[in-house]
Symmetry: C2
Subunit: 312 residues, 2 copies
Amino acid sequence: MHAVTIVDGSLRWQEHPDPVPGAGEVLVRVHAAGLNGADRLQVMGLYPAPSGSPADIPGLELAGEVAALGPGAERFAVGDRVMAVVGGGGQAELCVVHERHLLPVPDGVDWAVAGGFPEAFTTAHDALFTQAGLSVGERLCVHGAAGGVGIAGVQLGVATGASVVATVRNEALRDQVAAFGAAVVAPEGFGDHGPFDVVLELIGAPNIGDDIAALTTGGRIAVIGTGAGVKAELNLLALMGKRGRIHGSTLRARSLEDKATAARALERHVLPLLAAGTVTAPVHATYPMAEATAAYEHFAAGGKLGKIVLVP
Amino acid sequence: MHAVTIVDGSLRWQEHPDPVPGAGEVLVRVHAAGLNGADRLQVMGLYPAPSGSPADIPGLELAGEVAALGPGAERFAVGDRVMAVVGGGGQAELCVVHERHLLPVPDGVDWAVAGGFPEAFTTAHDALFTQAGLSVGERLCVHGAAGGVGIAGVQLGVATGASVVATVRNEALRDQVAAFGAAVVAPEGFGDHGPFDVVLELIGAPNIGDDIAALTTGGRIAVIGTGAGVKAELNLLALMGKRGRIHGSTLRARSLEDKATAARALERHVLPLLAAGTVTAPVHATYPMAEATAAYEHFAAGGKLGKIVLVP
């Protein structure tokens, strides 16, 4: 097979041996693979792939057809449409995935959408519901709502009957985010639109103090992005006064069983919404995998709404 | 009645009109009232009483006999032994308490123990179980274990089958804390005894970074004290890597219904342990209420294990 390959900090479209599915694993012929921030960090040498994933092939999510089954794999049949979050190696013609990490792709969902869906929606669903316990009628603030996880969070918040306020720095993208059902505001002074039961924090350290100030009693802050900074000042008395909670999480470093648990939650609770068209992963652009360098440059330039997705 | 009374930053034993129980309230003849840090802050003018509590009579907890019932009060009868967390006014001969905030005092429990029990155990139980979800077999670290809430946390941790590590700065108190079933260590290098599922943080800001480093995946930090500092540096990536959670809470500022909910949890889950002698509020000294100034000075001096309790 060919795969997007990291060679001395650059990307090449190179030949690799075909991967072979082991016990419980499935060989997937990749039709689409979304691009994520962690891919860029991995190319820059800042985010090594977890053990068990190829060190030199990026790609945290993929969608494709089942091409072969390893011993004991029984959840899917050859030809089934599937998608998954993977530890790495998704940006390739073929990828081996454990069957417990695979989700079915609902009928009528494009390959590009499916290829950009799993990572953002698993992350947003896990943060909003498994961690922060977002519920009907609550007030949610999504910081950095124009990103892949942000727009997933907005849609999941609207779908659960929460009242969603979204901050978007790029003015040109605000109308597009608002079309998903959020009240879109500038990052400055977002607290005037609170208080919030849940804050989905995709920007990072500079926001934490204002996030706590904007919480209602018993509010929760779920931190899953730190692009604007890692070291926050935390006023403990302010957090205590709100009886608030700050969660942090990442998806990639999880154990196989924790990833499978997150995949099952997505399958049960979010796939019906995707199948019904209630939520989607908006696709900004697709690139052939052989042109991955251009795709990564487009991704790095920002200013877009929706995923950049690689196709073979 | 007479009550400990704040007059220009000092304490007097003064005459007040007898309080009258309203609908659903109970008049309690106080037999014991524990001293807490918030009382000192209130005397210093740094922690005003919440609305609905007397502004000039300190006292966050009490135990005594039911002296009279307000209209509709039905949970207790005149003469019953009761105890409660109150918003203030506990350090007096008489105090009015809503019946939903009162707990029965189990037979055989001394007045002084009952007077020093509710605040520390409600706070520790709420932080460890309602918030942090401490469970059997988990590993708990209690920072500041020689204080009233700390020693309550140690006992509740041991009672639930957790493995408890306690940090105690004052070497002279370590053996006394160890007698409650914790492995007692110096605050420096406590992380070597982890990783911890739950950290009960009674010291504050300087510990937060080491607390996160000492967490296991999915660990929780419950912050309920900040004596050593309020402004912590929070490394968001470190918290995300642990998929950790930081809770903050206070008891005093809660709504009436939230305090009643906490009282019911204590009644159901902790009173049986108190009745059985599995947990207790150790009493360091008792003082007559008329000598409150000496009691507060003793409290401020520190270096003790157990509560200072005022008696009429």
